[in-house]
Structures are given as structure tokens and as C-alpha cells.
Homo-oligomer: 327 residues x 2
Amino acid sequence: MTTSINLITPPGELLELIESARRPLLIAHIAPDGDAIGSLLAAGILLHYLGKEPLLACQDRVPVTLRFLPFQDQIKSDVRDFDPDVVIAVDSSDPSRMGAIYDPDRFYQAPLVVIDHHVTNVHFGDINWVEPSCCAAAEMIYYLMRALDVTPTKELASCLLTGLVTDTRGFRTANTTARVVGIASKLMEAGAPLNRITENALNSRSYDLISLWGRVLGTVQRDGGIISVSNERAMREDLNGIIRADGVVSFILGAYAAKVAVVLTELPEGKIECSFRARPGSDVATIALQLGGGGHPLASGCTVEGTLPDVRQQVFALLRETNAWAE
Amino acid sequence: MTTSINLITPPGELLELIESARRPLLIAHIAPDGDAIGSLLAAGILLHYLGKEPLLACQDRVPVTLRFLPFQDQIKSDVRDFDPDVVIAVDSSDPSRMGAIYDPDRFYQAPLVVIDHHVTNVHFGDINWVEPSCCAAAEMIYYLMRALDVTPTKELASCLLTGLVTDTRGFRTANTTARVVGIASKLMEAGAPLNRITENALNSRSYDLISLWGRVLGTVQRDGGIISVSNERAMREDLNGIIRADGVVSFILGAYAAKVAVVLTELPEGKIECSFRARPGSDVATIALQLGGGGHPLASGCTVEGTLPDVRQQVFALLRETNAWAE
């Protein structure tokens, strides 16, 4: 049985620039996630394999759940001693995402390359390779690797698969294509340990987060197609500074009757952060916009002044008004 | 880019029997899960495509989360009017799994075929095709389809992918091979909607289950590498008969420090059901065996007489004694 993966070809000028580079500086975005770190490391391994001397950088620390990745301890947050001949930003939609790493005054002679899959990318580089059809920046680094005719090592494959797995939440997002799943299979054949990656990057959480889930889920309410929970400051006093109950909004949207899920989080300074998720057919972009936030029809958010009961009332009135949970 | 999937070949006598059959009876196991229903429907569609007149049967109802599958409403729980010339049990490790559907007195003239992936299969058929290396019975039906030279329709592909997705919990179990992921990619190319399948079969739950999660997680405790919760009868009085907090044991095992996870569930008749999960390197088979249950090193269970506090004390004493959570 044979099958083929339709590869996407990177721009020729990008390939030429990479082939001629000697000291590339690779930058992942601030508050890095699995795709930021995975695609950064994969690009670094790839360029090292091609005989370059890359430096890998990120303003913020590698999250605990990603410290199983090879070479993650070589990512620097201080690049003052490095003089790059090209700068490559991965998974970053605008220059602010590079944080303190990118210093335009120092790097003005080095061309800036943008490799990103966000539809919102502002094309801030000298060369911009932006592919919104890709589910992850790691998918693009895979195509780059193939265009450069490199066979992945286990390490390279592991970093790429981590990017695919985290940005698709384990192949669960709507943009997970047959192509992405086919690439995942190829990376596993090259030695990438899917189970280890999912266990570390997706199925690991702090004890405090587990405790907070219990307390937040204890407030669950439903009102027609709206399912909601509250995350109050008082619930978290003994929980070592944790604020958000990550993952709860997707979990409650899984209720059979739910069309819209709402998580109201009381922030330390007293404002209320509202997270909205919708099943296909409903739309939560409008309500977030009305409340000064933004997002997409199926996932949006905003931060509102007020007490938790007041904001809850306001949000529910708007949801009923816009009929956001209608089919 | 071309790749190949190493196919497993079904036994020749199985292929011959299927080719000669006219009225096959296909049976999924009692209390059917996604692989039981997915592989049953896929086998039925395959045999129908080959010009047979199959009857699909299962003693118990199709779970709500699987009612999105094509032709699921054609699965019968009463087969008294059907006179099969071959009986095929899918995903069933012993004859009791066929429940009330299989009547040996009526079906003694029809050869019994077993298609199953459980290592515990007792080979109860006239022809037994048992492949413990397969992650799901649906993987075996895929190989059967390929051996019979059939190209999957969208419907057939959707049923097969549902079996793969549910038995691997969305490609997260340790037995998820590159081959399985490659097959998933092929099924998606044939039209199987991965996102719809995961949303329905994995990410849907009752409001009562969400409420129960909140109450059960509210009891979370840790003791060294042991993380545990209790599910008491009193917590569930207003929850419409739900008993188990499905999924909680895997969720709490995700705690950074956890080596062993324990869920103690007070059953309606007062006994305590103990569910154990372990990270690789630990072993919870021993403790379950000691308490009259069974299972594997990483997942086991037992049911014990006693009150919840007493059983908890007993379980923790044994866990400490066997040092089950040691690396």
C-alpha cells in the first residue's frame, strides 16, 4: 500500500537565505506553548544538521510539561553575545510576540524571516512565509525539512510531533487534516514517541490545577444551551498563585445539551475574565466583541470591570439577547 | 512522498468463508463501546458491499455518544427471525460477551468466526482470528477490507476510524503505532470526519457526569506519589442514577508528582470499587490481585466489602507496603 503526502513548498528566497546563513538566530514567541518550543527546537536541529551554528532563543522559560524535549535546555533568554546573520521568528504573528529577544537596533543588518501559521500574521519580516492552512508551525518546519531534503532523526521528529500534537490538542481540533495525521505517522516511524509526548505535553497538570478544577466544576450551572462555571478568587487562596482553570471550558462544552460554554474567572485585581466556547452552529464572537474582547465564532474572550455576579448577569442577558446558542 | 502500511493478512480460511457466506450474523459485545459498534458497522457495510445480506446485532443499546454513526439504527437486539449461514463475533474475548444474541442451539450449523484483538481471547470460535498487536478490532476490519480489495466509502471509513479513535482514546494509549496513525490518515482521506468523531465519541458527556466530576475532584488528596479521590453515594443522590466518574482516574494521574492514581467508588449496595492507574515504572496489578481483582501493571481494579474509610485505609496500607509507586 502506498500513499503520498502533498508537501507545501517554502518560498525559494527563504530556502536560499537558509542555505547561505551561518549564524541564524531562531526566536520562539513569549509565553511559549508546545508548538513554539517544538518548532523552535526542530528548526534548530535542522539547521545544525545542515552545518549552521544556530542560537535558539525565547524570552520566557520552557514550560514544565515540555522539559522532556531534547535540547530544550539549550534555549537562551539572553542573546547579547550573539551576532546573527539571519533572524527567524517561528509561530509569531506580530513583532511583539518575540518579546525582549528581538532588538531592532542590534539586528538591523540581519534579514528577518517569519515562519508562521496564524491567519492574523501581520507579515512583519523581510521574508514572510505564512501558511494559515497549516495546523502548527511545526507542520511548516516539516515541509522546510523535506524541501531541504533532510531525513528526520528521532530528536527532530519528536520536536515536530510535539508541535503538531499540542496545537491540535492531540488531533482533536477541526483543522486536523488527513495530511497532518499522515505526517504524524511518518514522524512516529522516524522514532517520535507519540505516547510520551501526549502524556507530558497534554496529560500533565499541577496538583493545584486538579484541585481548582474540582472547585470550579462545583459551580456548574446550565441554562438552556448555556453551560457555565465560576472561578472565584476565594477558591484559590490556598493554591499557590494559580489563576485559570485551564481546560475547563472545553470540558463543560462537552455536555450533551451545551451549545455555549462560559467560564467567568475573577482576576487578582478584581476584573472578570470571560472565556466563551461554542459548538459549531453557534457563535460567541459577537458577545466578546460587544464586551470589548475578541476571538472567533467558536472561541472568544473578554475582560470586564465589575463583580462576578454583576458580570454573570450582564453576560447571560447578552447571550439570551443575541441568541448565541441557537442552532 | 510515498509510504507504505504493512498490512496484516487475515487467515485464508476466514477469507474463503466470508466469500462463500450469504447471510452472515455479526455480533458486537454487550455494553458496547466505540470499537464494538464501529467494527460491527464497518464489517456490516463491507459485507453488504460484497453482495451479502448481513444482520448486525448487539444485546445492548448503542450508546448516545455513538448515535451519529451511519446505519447504527439498523443494529438489532432480536435475531429470532434470522437464519445465518455464518456467525461472526467482533471485539469479543469470550462467548459470554455475545450476551443473549448468540443461541448455540439455534446456530449450531453456522460456523462461528471470532475477530478480536484482546490478548485474553479464549479462542471460542471455529475460526479464530486474534491479533493482540492491533489497537482495536476496527484495525483488523481495515485489514480484512484491504484483503478483500475493497476501497472504503465515507461511511465505512467513519466506522473504522471511530473504532481506532475510541480504543486509543484519541491516539493516546501506549499501543498507538505509526501504522494505526497512518491508517487513520488514509481513512480521513476517504472522508472520515476525525473532528466530528472525537467530538461525539470522546468529548461528549452528561451534565450529571460533569457535576459528579466536580464533587469527586473536591476530595482530591495526595500522599507521596499516590493521588486519590473518593466517589461517595451521598454525592450522587441528585444525579439521576449515575455511579462512576468516568475518566477521573486518568485525569488525576496527570498530576506532576503522581505515580499511582486511586479512585474509590461507593457502589449502590455499599461495596467499594477501587480503580487503580499507574505511570510506567509503577505497578498496580499486584494490589488489585491481593484484593481479589485483576488487571495490568498500569491499570487494574477490584471490588472490596467495607466502608469507604476502612477500604481507603486498607488500600493505602497495601500501596505503601508493596511500594507500588516506586520508580
